[in-house]
Each structure stands twice: as C-alpha cells, then as structure tokens.
C-alpha cells in the first residue's frame, strides 16, 4: 500500500453531470434532461483545464473521472480533456463506467488515452434488488463489460456494490458479493445504502435501510472479500495489495486536488471550495472567464488537524497512538504498530469513534 508521502501528491477530479436515468437514492449533481448541453460542457471542461494548466497546475499523480455517467459522453472528447493534463509517469487514471454503456471500442479508446483503472457501477447482482434500488441495468452486461475492460488491457478494475435496499436478504447480498468475486476485480467498494435528504428514497420511509441489517451485511462483505484476498483499507473499500485507489487515498490523506466541472470540489492546503452546481452555470462561468467557484471555506489549524484525523481514522492508516483513548473504546479500535486502527466493529461505529478523537 502507498505510504504517507502521498500527502505530496496532486489529484484531479473531472465531473460529468449527465445520466440516462436518475437512481432514486442519488443526491449527486447529475441531470437526465441536459444531453443537449454535453458538447458545450465538454468544451468548457477543456477550456477550464487548459487555463488551469497555463496558470501553473502541478504535475498530476491521480485522475478520477466520475459523475454522473462519464460513459454517456463520447470517449474521444473525454480523452481530449485528459490529454490536457500534465500527468506524471505512472499516474493513476480512473473512469467510472455504467456497464450498459461499455463496449470494446470505448475501452480501447480509454486505454489508448491513458486510462488504467475502471470503476464499474454494479450495485447488486440480483434483479429484484436492482429494481428496488431504481437501477435499470442488465446483469448480463456486467459480465460483458468486464470482458471489454480485460480485453483492452486496462489493469485495474473496481466494482461498486450497494447493500441495504428494501427486500434484499442476507443471502441476496452474499450472492452479490460472491458473484462480484467471480469477476476477479482488483478492488471492491461496498456502500451501505444511505438516505440522502431530498431524494425520492427519502420520502419513502418503508424503504429506508435498517442499521442492524446493514451491520450484518458489512460483516458478510468484509469476511468474503478478505478471504478472497482483498484487504479492507478504508471503511467501504477493499483491494488486492497494491491496487488501493491512490486518488481516494489522496482525499483521505488531506492531499491537494482540483475539481473540474459543475459541483466539483477542490482542496489546496486547508482551503476547500466547490463549483457552481448546474452544468449551465459552469458553462457560462467558463465562457465568460469568470470564477467557477460557488463557495468555499478555509480551515483553521485546529480544524484542519481534526479533519486529518477524522479522515485518516477511516483508513487502515489509522491515527497516531495518543489521538484516542483506547480504554474507553471497548474493542472498537486496536494498536497496530505506532497507530490506532479501527477493528471491524469499530469501522461500523466509525462516527462514535471519531467523536472521541482528541
């Protein structure tokens, strides 16, 4: 696993705010009715990136193109944006993919453009759970999408899974995780379904996940993945050794990153800011050469330090001995070397532990 020196690394996030269909648990900045602005949006991204490079953007260690649905955009225009970035040799470049959109040709274009990591939105392997999540993709497509990734030579593959939808049994979930293992991913992200305010899901309490059920499912996924050789390195993330997502580690190590596109977040040395929320406003800002930033905050030294601990506690880096009183934590954390690291039970009660950080 990469070490602390990642603090010096620099990342770029590119947001593609378009989707075929909106999942009813999703609160991200995405739109299903703005396809007509895609071309204009991609040109704005291109311009925005060029301006930042010209203004002295540092060399880029990691890139994450997410959304929304990046695969909804022509691969060539995505790769054209990517080509503007001053990448270091060996940079990690991830694209989030919808299995329904993935083709051999698309993956070949990605691979040629420098993409070396695909994150696939699988969510579940059982049809009724997918339906209950409001997802429409076809299960057979997952298999063929994975084959396309493999055929292109892209080496790293993450599968995104979600647990806790209404009607999902423990066996359904076990089946999903096992099917995921069959696809030999290098990385799995498994997220407990979260009710975000303002989403359709939020308005239907009978579909809200149960904490105890999600705890059981967390233990299931952790146990299965661990025995399949994927180690947990952040609360919701597991990887084969050496395949941890360096871009996400950069977030958790309070590294600097610049976000491009609407609603994208950025961070530089204790200042965090975020862009205007809609694609139209982003396009307008870029076209008129005005700031894309909507708002931001500057952390004081104390808050910055506490945030660093809160983030690090989520990962297998843990926090320094002395940042927590182990005695009061009753098996939620343990000492590993010089660090205090969450146990499986502690990862489930991460907030409770976080609140006790000095």
């Amino acid at each position: 696993m990469p070490t602390q020196k990642d603090f010096d690394q620099f990342g770029v996030y590119i947001h593609i705010p378009f989707c075929h269909h909106r999942c009813d648990y999703c609160s991200f900045a995405t739109w299903t009715d703005r396809h007509h602005v895609i071309d204009h949006y991609m040109r704005a991204l291109d311009t925005d990136i060029k301006r930042n490079v010209a203004a002295g953007m540092p060399a880029v260690n990691t890139v994450f193109i997410g959304g929304g649905t990046p695969t909804l955009v022509r691969p060539e225009s995505l790769m054209a944006c990517l080509a503007q970035l001053p990448l270091v040799a060996g940079a990690e470049v991830t694209v989030e993919c919808n299995p329904d959109d993935v083709t051999d040709a698309m993956m070949a274009t990605y691979s040629d453009g420098g993409v070396n990591r695909i994150s696939m939105g699988v969510q579940s392997m059982t049809a009724h759970v997918l339906a209950s999540l409001g997802r429409t993709h076809n299960l057979a497509n997952v298999q063929s999408a994975v084959e396309s990734v493999r055929g292109s030579g892209i080496p790293a593959l993450n599968l995104d899974l979600i647990y806790g939808a209404v009607g999902e049994t423990l066996d359904d979930w076990r089946y999903t995780v096992q099917q995921a293992i069959e696809l030999s991913p290098t990385h799995v992200s498994a997220y407990g379904l979260t009710v975000e305010p303002g989403t359709p899901l939020a308005r239907e309490p009978h579909r809200h996940p149960d904490d105890d059920d999600q705890a059981d499912k967390y233990i299931i996924v952790d146990d299965i993945l661990r025995s399949a050789g994927l180690a947990n390195y952040e609360i919701s993330n597991w990887a084969r050794p050496g395949y941890e997502c360096r871009h996400n580690l950069l977030y958790w190590r309070q590294g600097n990153y610049t976000g491009f596109g609407c609603a994208a977040h950025s961070h530089a040395d204790g200042r965090r800011w975020w862009n205007v929320r809609t694609p139209e406003r982003y396009i307008e800002a870029v076209d008129t050469n005005s700031p894309t930033e909507a708002s931001g905050e500057t952390l004081d030294a104390v808050t910055q330090k506490r945030e660093a601990l809160e983030l690090s506690l989520r990962t297998s880096d843990g926090v320094p001995v002395g940042a927590l009183d182990l005695k009061a934590l009753e098996g939620l954390a343990e000492v590993v070397g010089e660090r205090i690291v969450l146990t499986q039970r502690g990862r489930l009660l991460g907030n409770e532990v976080s609140l006790r950080l000095y």
């Binding site: 904490d211 996400n248 977030y251 994208a264 977040h265 409770e352």
Partner: protein, 594 residues
C-alpha cells in the same frame, strides 16, 4: 388626566380565540403602530411566546380613541399563570371577553370571567371569527347569556382578522366600561401587575395608579418587599416607551426604579411614596406558590456555577421560579426548582438553555408531598429521592386540585373515564346549556401535572378546556417507583405514585424511555422497581452501525460538519453511569402518547 376620559381593560380569551389578533387590530386602528411596523402578535415580545402562540408575560399599551385614553392590558394565556391574570385584572375596570364564534366559551375563560365578576369588572362580550364558515354566533351568544347572564343582544360580533366590528368594539368599551376612580390628592397607591428585567435598565414594572400621583425623581416605597427606591423614570407605552412626569389615578404605565431583581417588584406589589406613605397596601398580594418541582442539572458538571448564575438572572425576570441546590448520585450537582405548572417548567428550562446557552437535564417532575413520620414529625418532600425510609413513614398525604372541565356533552363519558383513571373524585356535573357540560372533580395534583391536560385535549379533539385550583392535602397509599439504568439506580428519576398504579407506571415509563434513550455502544437495560422488587424491564439494544458509507472529495466538508453537529448533540446528553441520556428525556416521556 381627567378620570372620565380613561378606560382600562384587559382581554380575556382562550388560546387561539384571537386575543393577539385583536390586540394587533386595536394597535393598528388607533394608530399606535402603523401598518409598516406591524408584525403579528405585536405584544408577544419573547420568541417563545410567538412560537407557542401564548402570552407568558403581561404587556400593556396606551392607545387613543375618540378623545379617550385607553389602556389595554394583555394577560398571560395559560392556566399555570392564574395569579398573574388576577393581578392584571385588578388593574382594570372592565374586560373584553373574546369567544370564538365557532367554538364557544372555554373553562379557563369562564374562570377568568368569574374572576372579573368577583372584582366587579364590567364585561364586554364579543364573538370573534364571524368570518369563519363554521361560525355559529347565535348559538354561542345564547350560551354566553345562559352562563354569564350577559344579554345575547349586547354581545358584539367581530372579526379581529378582517377588522370588521373592531371600531364598534372600541366605542362599546368607552360606553360600557366605567372610568376609573381615585383621589389624586390621597397618598400614592400604585399596583404593580407585572415586572420584567431589562439588562440595561433593570426592572421595568407595569403599574396602575389607584390613588395619588406617581412622579419621577421621588423616593418610592415597595410595601410588600419593604424597600425604598428612587423612581428614575415613569412613562407610558404607546407602545414605544415614552417618559412622562407623572401618572395620576387610573393611569397605567411603567416604572423604573433601579431595581435589579423582579422579586423586589412582584406582581401584586403596592408602590407608595416614601415621604407620605399610604397606610395600607392594596389587597390581593400573594407570594408565588410553586406547584411542580423538578431537578435541573447541567449536562456538563462544570456548568454548575453557570447554572446558578443563570437561575439568578432568570429569576430577575421571573420571580415565580424557586430554586435551591441539591445533589444526586446519578446527576451530580444541580438545583431543585419549583414552577407554577408543567408548561412553566418547560418554558423555564427552554429559556435557560436558549438565553444562557446551557444544556440541562430535567428530572421527573414531582409535586410536594406531606410526610407524617412515625415519630410524629411532619415534612414536606418535593423530591422523591428525599422520601424517608418506609419504616419511618406513618402516612403520606398528597395535594389535590379542584378541577373544572367544560366540554361538549358527547365527551362527558370519555372525560369521566380519564378523571377516574387519574384517581379523580366527582364533585358535580352540571349542564351549562343543552350542548355543554361542566365537570367538577377533585384530582390529585400529581396526576394532573403528568399528562392530564394533553390527554384531555386528545380525547376531546381539543374541545374541552380546564381550570383548576388547589384543594388541600389528603392521605393516599403512595409508593416510590425507582428507575434503574444499566443496573444502576438513577435516583433523580424516581417518582411517587399511587400503589395501584405503580406497576402500570413502571411498565409505561420503561417503554417510553426505551424509545427516548438513543442506542449506545452496549445493551442498556431499563428497569422500574419498588425497593428491590422489579416491576418492568426493557432493553435498549446496542448500536451496531453509525458510520457514513462514503467520504470522497465532495463529502469531506459535509462529513466534518456532520461530526461537529453530532459532537454538539452529545453535549446535550447527560452521562448517567455509562449511559448517555437526552436532557429532555422526562419532559418528552410525559408528552409521548402510549
């Protein structure tokens, strides 16, 4: 000022019958407040009053109407504040009785009307909300005639909302309510009917001059508090405070006398001049008498001194709160506080938290019991934890209330069931009209303060109303039910209940606490017991998951703020042993439906 040109009146109304709206309209119509400055519930100055839609502190305002000066005295609107109402009425010659034309007269309104009649006040009755489709003014005019003997044809019909009929009401006030009397040359007798503390000016008292003249810059004597102060400023509220040189008989205004504590200028106090004092004080003064008691403890033990100072400051503004230090095994150091009623208790806790930035936990409320000891001694116990050992108790007596309920007759049965379940004894049932019944019961105060009011409201869809007064002590078979959290007795949560109800109380309390105590990192058993005998048990299962699934670039700020909020939330939790309990757990438990 010429006495014949003065009218002093108060508005008596049930909650929601339109008192504040009518006050707003009067202020507008008389030009006291122009439309630009108008806001709803103008006279309810505390945020809490607006939020809850009730008046807690009395206000007064001077308006001009057709060559007359009118003083509108706004009175508190809850049964907890009966004494304050009686003092406000003592400052008036008449009242405007406001009755909702769709609902009819309510018990507390009726009680205040009787109070007005006893004080020989003229009643101008109005039916409000005649613009409502459900209004039935003919029917309720008849009812008022039957109950109060006010001829139906004299009852005005208005809409405070639209302003319809309000000018005629003002004319009727001048025509029907008598002008005040009083000798301007007699020694000064001025009645204080409310005092509020202002951090810049000290105590500002509302006063009504009965005899003599009150002047600024003279030495005045407070006859009950036995103190002498200087009248630094006197004035009238229009509603903007406007200083005047003197107030004569019949006039209502305010007095600032450099007083730092409202307990020195209580409602009912008589102010006279130090030089030539009146021979006797005005009648009707009463020391405030707390009815309900609870412990208030700081969530953070280090805040004990802050709480003491805050209580001192709060008492500058609310002399009816009593407090003395106490300690509890479960909660540490805090104060035993006395309140006029449950609403008052809630308001005080909320004000301490809002205005003094404290986080508090309130214990289960209690009334004051009279303990007759085997050695012949008598003690008053308002904290169940202080109950002597059973072998030292000969008998326990509990306070009773005489409760009057007015209800549409269809709810008579369900209300009788309720009163019975609260160990009530029926004294009388009378028909006010073919449709409405007044029930008279004697009910133990301990039962009334718990959830009687809310239950009555829910059983009658809000149609019944209530009034009560203290009715002495009676012996009862009472026991103390203790609560154990995680196996440890939480002394502060003990309650005294009737033996027959102990089991039911214990079972319900455990069930409610199970809902109100958040899941902890371990199982928390909750038990109710009498002595070593466990009556009921519930378990709050250990929390297993609280973590947020995702924390990427765009989530970091939000996540950090969420944790900060949770940290703040934790500060509102009191640790009892290892168990974290919300500060309002008992107030919430009382409100929770079964």
């Amino acid at each position: 000022m010429e006495l014949s040109k003065i009218r002093n009146f108060s508005i008596i109304a049930h909650i929601d019958h339109g008192k504040s709206t009518l006050s707003d309209r009067i202020l507008e119509l008389t030009g006291a407040v122009d439309a630009r400055e108008m806001r709803e519930q103008y006279l309810d100055s505390m945020d809490l009053e607006r939020e809850r839609g009730i008046t807690i502190k009395a206000q007064n305002v001077r308006v001009d109407w057709k060559g007359h000066v009118m003083h509108l005295i706004d009175t508190p609107g809850h049964v907890d504040f009966g004494y304050e109402v009686s003092r406000s009425l003592a400052a008036c010659e008449g009242v405007v009785l406001v009755v909702d034309a769709a609902q009819g007269i309510e018990a507390q309104t009726l009680a205040n009307c009787y109070l007005a009649l006893e004080n020989n006040l003229e009643i101008v009755a109005v039916l409000n909300k005649i613009d409502l489709p459900a209004a039935d003014p003919d029917r309720y005019a008849m009812e008022i005639e039957t109950v109060l003997g006010i001829p139906a044809e004299e009852i005005l019909r208005i809409s405070a909302k639209t302003g319809d009929g309000v000018p005629e009401l003002l004319d009727a006030i001048i025509a029907r309510i008598p002008a005040p009397t009083g000798d301007p040359n007699a020694p000064l007798q001025a009645l204080i009917f409310d005092s509020q503390y202002d951090q810049y000016r000290g105590v500002v008292s509302s006063v009504r001059v009965m005899q003599g003249r009150m002047k600024s810059g003279i030495r005045v004597q407070f006859m009950q508090a036995r103190n002498i102060h200087e009248s630094l400023e006197i004035g009238v509220r229009r509603p903007v405070p406007t200083p005047v040189a003197e107030l004569g008989p019949g006039e209502v205004g305010y007095l600032i006398a450099g007083i730092k504590d409202v307990a020195q200028a209580r409602s009912g106090e008589t102010v006279t001049t130090a030089l030539l004092p009146a021979t006797e004080a005005l009648s009707g003064y009463r020391d405030p008498k707390p009815m309900v008691f609870c412990g208030l403890y700081p969530i953070d033990g280090d805040d004990f001194e802050n709480l003491r100072e805050s209580l001192e400051k709060l008492r500058l503004n609310d002399a009816s709160v009593t407090y003395e230090p106490e300690s509890s095994g479960a909660l540490g150091f805090g104060f035993r506080c006395g309140f006029l009623g449950l609403l008052h208790m809630e308001i005080v806790k909320e004000r301490l938290e809002r205005e003094f930035d404290l986080s508090l936990i309130a214990t289960a409320p209690s009334v004051a019991y009279k303990i007759l000891r085997t050695d012949g001694g008598v003690e008053i116990v308002d904290n169940p934890a202080d109950l002597p050992l059973p072998q030292n108790i000969a008998s326990i007596e509990e306070p009773y209330f005489k409760v009057n309920i007015i209800t549409p007759k269809d709810f008579t049965g369900t209300l009788m069931d309720l009163c019975q379940s609260k160990r009530g004894e029926m004294l009388k049932l009378e028909y006010l009209s073919p449709e409405r019944v007044e029930l008279h019961y004697a009910i133990p105060l301990g039962e009334v303060v718990i959830d009687f009011f809310d239950q009555m409201k829910s059983r009658t869809q809000g149609y019944a109303s209530l009034d009560y007064e203290l009715d002495g002590y009676r012996p009862s078979d009472l026991v103390r039910v203790d609560l154990l959290l995680n196996g440890l007795p939480a002394d502060a949560f003990s309650t005294i209940v009737h033996r027959d109800k102990a089991f039911d109380y214990g079972r319900r309390m455990c069930a409610k606490l199970k809902l109100l105590i958040p899941r902890q990192m371990f199982d928390v058993p909750i038990q109710a017991a009498i002595g070593s005998k466990v009556l009921a048990r519930e378990t709050v299962k250990a929390k297993r998951k609280d973590v947020l699934a995702k924390c990427y670039g765009g989530d970091i700020t939000r996540k950090r703020k969420l944790l900060e909020k949770q940290k703040e939330g934790k500060k509102k939790m009191k640790a009892i042993g290892r168990v974290e309990v919300p500060g309002d757990v008992f107030i919430s438990a009382l409100k929770l439906d079964d």
